[in-house]
Symmetry: D2
Subunit: 453 residues, 4 copies
């Protein structure tokens, strides 16, 4: 028997692709639709409105369709309050619990739409009624701590953070997501849904745009987060990244034991995995420097202690310590050592990464799939993200999970970071990058070289 | 001063993404729009209609915007006849000549919309008035030869085929393109704008769908065209492809000197580039068999002669000769020899490929970038295409030029072709794959077997 | 002042490349050599002997050269006992400690060469004197437990396992490594130093060789270890892997939370990341099945409990539980959940992986970089290893750390595993694969072979 | 019955890997050997000598083994004159003709070893007796023209260049090849058999070495040949390459119709494939500029004419015309147009490329597989070659055919060329790169380390 429901959508529905995805979802899943009303925004600045009746042959199909439409921002006509069920035990959620997207989300609670805090995909959505409604529960101090005098709050929780008794949203009624819309002004590297990754985009120009964005974020007092893999060091780009840290363009560093060790090895022995990255000499197996470096840091009692003791005197980790950069080293099963600073428990490390990610205004992901995915998992779709890797598959995989502002670049990290640092730091000394009008890196010959003195 | 024009669009504008692309183009290029009318198709089977006034600050911007809208199917309100200018010399087109897309296209000539024949991208569009209108030109016999008693015709011509005096379309007024629309029934490998290429799609299931499509095309008397690179032979898939040819599932083969030589080497010496592809033995440099093979075929006077003389007794080329498959070997600058059958002139080879491509109902592109691009250049966007390569960059590059029915698979050609052949040929013998209970792929879960009968 | 030392080498020095590497190391590092004696093996079965005086301008260069020669199997003439220093604290090794290779290694202790147990690269080398020599230390019971009545033992320890007081080898005198030598019979997939990775090797033939090797290992009562990434499930190869487990061809499984979750999702919901891997339908974002699956397993109390409860009824994890396969799920920072079975601490997980790796006779690494590197880190260079990935960079990275018996295949895991299962299981039913002489994949099952006649 | 032959080898047999390959070949092919004499070079500057008796069970195996040994430089004891057979017809060689390697080669003719000219792989080897011996053949003027008064000459001919009556070498007796040996001084980018390609090598340092090499070749009056693909332009590196041409660092350019068209489009329209490479704007399909560019050049009558007419005023092609760079544009089946300057016949284009390749002292292959392979086919193994591509598979494929001096870099051409130009041109202005002032990466040596304090 045909099942039917009516949903509503609002926003820049056409140019953001929302309607295309919604109509497509209905057809792909075997349903049909009836456009009851469609007010198309007359101009690029005017929003559209659509009321759509959707039907399917059975309740299961209808549910699948409504799920898709929901994720694209549709809400049921006359929505009712979110359905909440208490978690029966720690880490255990009720069946049919609502799993979050990474888009800004609201829940209808007590007749009011309230924002979900800490939005992040694949989490449970927990509603915390205000103290008034929830007077008996003395353990829920945080809502009132935050000073929102009695108002209910909603936030995400990973499964492992769920506690017995949490009020968990189930189904999807009373929940509204707001997928990113196409910005009204087009163009630039940070456009909308760059979709696809190409190695044939103009590399130097794109890097210049990223540099401008970094500078803009810092100028606004924003937070730049760098996610870096070991290849940054192997490929000789460590000095350039250290320069960016020293100049204050990195507020948070999220990396792993390998990245830190290779960087520290450079400082202690002048090599990375046993190879002198300046002269290319001794690129040999049996790179005892690597494991010796870890041993030195263990002996010193950690990276900060090693910097204080003068064991480590330069490099990315050194600059992070000296400049008070918020640093998280997350452990992995391929680590040697590990360094004492490495958080070996994955859940604990995720929590540390989550703290960093929520504060970030722009995230640079440099040549690491593992750490980039881990950070990406914690980001809302509204955070600007740049993914750089020489392997197109890595960039594709990251963008697929992606935020609308994500930029993917398939390029060599060993030339990307130095070129980026050049543009960022040049800009600093009088806006050379912006005013010079020189396009190819090499501008070097003359102006910028002098500016470096 | 603000410039403005009004265009119209019709079709499944929303779910095919047409409106999204049009609105996006206007904004990206810095113009603005006014939706004068928008009738949204109420149901999935109903078309939409949109009348859009577009404006920009200067004529050049407006022209760029209109060009984008045109390529998405928009036509000017009250269109006028196509503007034709005679080619001043062979191979020379008038400035501002119209360069074709690969979508079905019509021109408004003498007040009537006529279809453009041989549609293919990046060509000139030539109108041939009927004999009545063009009585003085005795050299234009082909229109009347074709028996269309006096009617005008329009067709594409590559630049190198343009002859002095040809009536070449310029600008874009009076020209209408019809980009592919989303099929009403979704799903399956041959869906709409699969967009993106993933190595994580279920390989065996996708191959089964391609096999079903091949069988369906052959059952309808259609034409299957295979474009094959040397890796097909190196990877040991030559036997499977030869089986498909022998069983009549290949109507046209488009390849190069390298593919043919490797295949012939297998027949004559049992090796491919000096390596025995069965036993893995002797994978050595100094593969004199390769150049000896070419020399043997030259001595015989060509591949067909070599088959007749018994020099070549098996393999893909052998089966192509035996089964009368339309074969084109196009030369390239990396060829050894070449074989006498290889067309060494690129323009001549393109013409031969063009003949094949226009007849094809489905094209399988197997592990060759060069030949796939060459064939793809000649295909209208309506021809079903499957691109298979282990390198995602190759598949992406091919799909980017792509037709809406293009399917990309990132997989190993050495297992793809044997598995495809297995599904195609098993299907032939009564659905072996479905009923056999074999563990790889086909297990089929019942349903599909019934559908195959 | 010129420094000089004399070393000796023995074995198949020329055809294994040992002498080439040694001479090269001396020259690359700026030293010079004097061949004092070189007895070349007269026949392929006769070993060679070389005594080489090496000199350099300064002690540091000489030390670097000797380090390289050491790693290629050279020992100082008249070697002295290994130099041992006690670890000053837990996890802290003495400066200049000896870092192991992954080759079989011996130490000269008390005038006798004793084998190092648990060989693995980048570890400390700990000598445990026998009870006689070590009478006062009651806490060192394990040597005598092992029943080696008083004899000293030597074994590897990762840095994090080092305990205060351990006798740690330093420098490299008194230590001899035995790099793998070229097997006397050449050829086959498991040849010597296949070096390099090519996507153009004959896929089906190579898979057949791997299948034969798997069957041989099982026939000998050996241990087959599978390391699997999530792409095995996404690409539709889960059924084939489950079949191999069910048939007893997998003794140990090393994977991550993602692999297990995707596999369990298939069993519970019939999808992988929300996509039906049979029909290709619903390949959509918002794959709530993934996180629901984790939640179901948490609710059941773990995978084994979920199998017992009938929540999970098929798939790789199901078969592993049913067949008592030794399974390790190692956590990572990109995990959702995680499942209760996942070991979230990296060091703990490494220890579990190490146990598995040491027992393995052959390791299949399927489409996972992280877990493959983690396992590879624990393997001696003598363990046969097959690395399969569609990304050549992954395969190259794994082989670079590699053992001499490592085989790399750049192919689609979605067709590799089904084809492998077919060959392994066919062989079981009467040796079809070996006797049939059929070359292209599946023809195996009779039908199409007849059609070939 | 056992067959046996004795061969001799001379040179740096061990450190160049010659003996390893020879012993390996014998064993792989199932033969056995008896080392009759082996004089090992005592020091790194002393050559070795080996006399080896090789035996096999049948003549065919022995022949295969001897072929391998021959290619590694072995000659039969007591070699006899080369065996010559006349070509029976144009393009037809005798059976069992000798197919050349790309190593320097000599033939024993009339009791004297003479060098083979124009060495290149996969060719026939033609001996031209001197006028004295060949008095009757008035058409063989070139030997005497070259002033070698009567001496015989030997040279390579491709199959398609063979003429009836040519004296073609058959078998391999009387032919000696000289594979490259390991240079006595190791290290640096242009080391010996870099073997393998890694994306993790330090990018900026390697580029600096290539820049130094380019400058050295030009300083010696040598010839720099650049092979460039369209991605050089798309990725925004065109300006930097044009700068190198303008500064005289490019003597020959070998490219295709696509490269030239994209470069010319930039000059005429400021775009590449319709995208403004400075601003990233308008990266759209329907890039009519591309085909319009071709049309403009056709109208002008060719690139040189277009430069003279002021149609083209900048870019790589412009600088090539202005600086008299030897330019070859080779056609391919994927070309649009083509430009009038494009050589459409593959054999003719190969001949033009061959001329360029033979003169080159160093070849830079930039982001093109097709043209790089074509050029590589014509190069002797002694020509220095640098292959740069973002796709490791491309670099691997090129190095596999490779010369011993080949360097592979997996990097982004869009940053490689600008960085290279910067280093090359900076060096010009007083050795800036060496002395400090450069802002990007590697400045390393000294300066920046101090500056960091």
């Amino acid at each position: 028997m045909t099942q039917s429901r009516t949903v509503e959508l609002e926003g820049h529905l056409i140019d953001s692709g929302t309607m295309q995805r919604c109509f497509g979802a209905v057809m792909d899943l075997g349903g049909s639709f009836d456009v009851e009303r469609f007010d198309v925004g007359k101009h690029e600045t005017e929003e559209s409105y659509c009321r759509l009746a959707v039907s399917a042959d059975d309740p299961e199909t209808l549910r699948a369709i409504l799920h898709e439409l929901h994720q694209n921002g549709a809400v049921l006509e006359d929505p009712s309050d979110v359905e909440l069920v208490r978690a029966p035990a720690d880490k255990v959620v009720p069946p049919n619990f609502y799993s979050t997207t990474n888009h800004p989300t609201e829940v209808l609670y007590d007749g009011e739409w309230i924002d979900v805090e800490g939005i992040e995909m694949d989490c449970a959505l927990v509603v915390e009624p205000g103290p008034a409604a929830d007077a008996g529960e003395g353990d829920r101090a945080d809502a009132s701590d935050a000073g929102n005098d009695g108002a209910a709050r909603a936030r995400t929780k990973t499964l492992s953070a769920v506690e017995a008794g949490d009020l968990i949203a189930t189904d999807q009624s009373g929940i509204r997501v707001n997928p990113p819309e196409r910005p009204r002004s087009g163009g630039g590297a940070f456009g909308f849904m760059q979709g696809g990754v190409s190695a044939e985009r103009p590399s130097e120009s794109t890097i210049r745009e990223v540099a401008a964005e970094l500078r803009a974020v810092e100028a606004d007092g924003g937070t730049v987060m760098v996610v870096a893999g070991p290849a940054v060091i192997h490929s000789g780009a460590g000095d350039a990244l250290a320069d960016l840290v020293a100049a204050g363009y990195v507020d948070a560093l999220s990396a792993g034991n390998g990245f830190a060790t290779h960087d520290l090895e450079r400082s202690i022995y002048g090599t990375s995995l046993g190879m002198d990255v300046e002269t290319l000499e001794h690129p040999r197996k049996g790179h005892k420097h690597h494991i010796w470096t870890i041993s030195e840091i263990i002996r010193a009692g950690g990276i900060e202690a090693a910097v204080e003791d003068g064991v480590v005197t330069e490099g990315v980790m050194y600059e992070c310590v000296e400049n008070g950069v918020d640093t998280v080293l997350a452990g992995s099963i391929r680590d040697d050592g590990p360094l004492p600073d490495t958080i070996t428990d994955a859940v604990e490390a995720q929590d540390a990464i989550r703290e960093q990610a929520r504060d970030a205004d722009i995230v640079l992901m440099l040549a690491t799939l593992l750490h980039s995915v881990a950070v990406g998992n914690c980001l809302p779709s509204t955070t600007k993200t740049v993914c750089v890797d020489i392997n197109p598959a890595t960039v594709t995989q990251l963008l697929d999970r992606g935020s609308a502002q994500a930029v993917g670049m398939v390029t060599d990290i060993g030339t990307f970071v130095p070129t980026l640092a050049e543009y960022v730091l040049e800009g600093e000394e009088g806006g050379g990058a912006e005013t010079g009008g020189d396009e190819s890196a090499g501008d070097g010959s003359g102006g910028s070289a002098e500016g470096d003195a």
